[in-house]
Symmetry: C2
DNA sequence: CATTCGCTTGGCTATATTGCCAAATAGGCA
DNA sequence: TGCCTATTTGGCAATATAGCCAAGCGAATG
């Protein structure tokens, strides 16, 4: 049942995994606004440039962004605009979590 | 720029991380059809029941599913129907990847 | 052609994740 | 009560991920 479609889920999980990191989520959101060079993202994130470069490489491997070398700079841009939709859903998960937390507190008070 | 909103991205990354595993993706897809008990999912996945239970716990922690204990069985159900939308986007990423791969082969042939 | 700049890659350590087995827990039933 | 069933939890080893530093590399510039 699952084993036959294992590969199917593995490839999909890889894409989600690439998104499942705070710095990478930030990059994706930033790239929605337009292309950015590695140095700009590094500046914004405040980590070592090698760290940022590796995160970008993860997103690229996953097919989420593409790079464009111009001069001695590399510009990355988002490849899949629908990623924005993800966030709407993630938000609703977080809202439910918040409600839970609130009701937990209410119960605790009783 | 990023540091101030770091927490914001961390909580969102956690939700995505919970989804970023083949077995857990399968479970979510299966739970879209309706509630399932641990034993059913275990049967379908073909892993140790303790492994399945831990995966379910990850999804639960992330606020994606809820459990309902009835008798000596535990039934899980999806909490956030919009998760389906995720997959549509993931599919388009995979389609682009496939196109890339195809064009790589074409270039290689030349 | 030497140097600098922007970026990537290798290497390393610290930490997190995965999945199994074994043990613990909880409900149902004889 | 004692046993069986369904599930969770603890513990462990294997593997993967993250982030830093250092080294490598191509493009631009003097």
């Amino acid at each position: 049942m699952y084993q036959q479609r294992k590969k199917h889920f593995e490839v999909r999980a890889k894409v989600l995994k690439a998104l499942a990191h705070p710095s990478r989520l930030f990059m994706v959101e930033e790239l929605e606004k337009g292309e950015r060079c590695v140095c700009e993202l590094t500046e914004m994130i405040g980590a070592d440039i090698s760290t940022v470069s590796k995160h970008l490489s993860v997103l690229k491997q996953a097919g989420l962004i593409i790079d464009d070398k111009r001069g001695n700079q590399v510009f990355y841009q988002l490849r899949v605009p629908c990623i924005l939709n993800f966030f709407g859903c993630v938000e609703s998960v977080l809202e439910l979590q918040a409600e839970d937390h609130a009701s937990m507190l209410t119960i605790a008070k009783k």
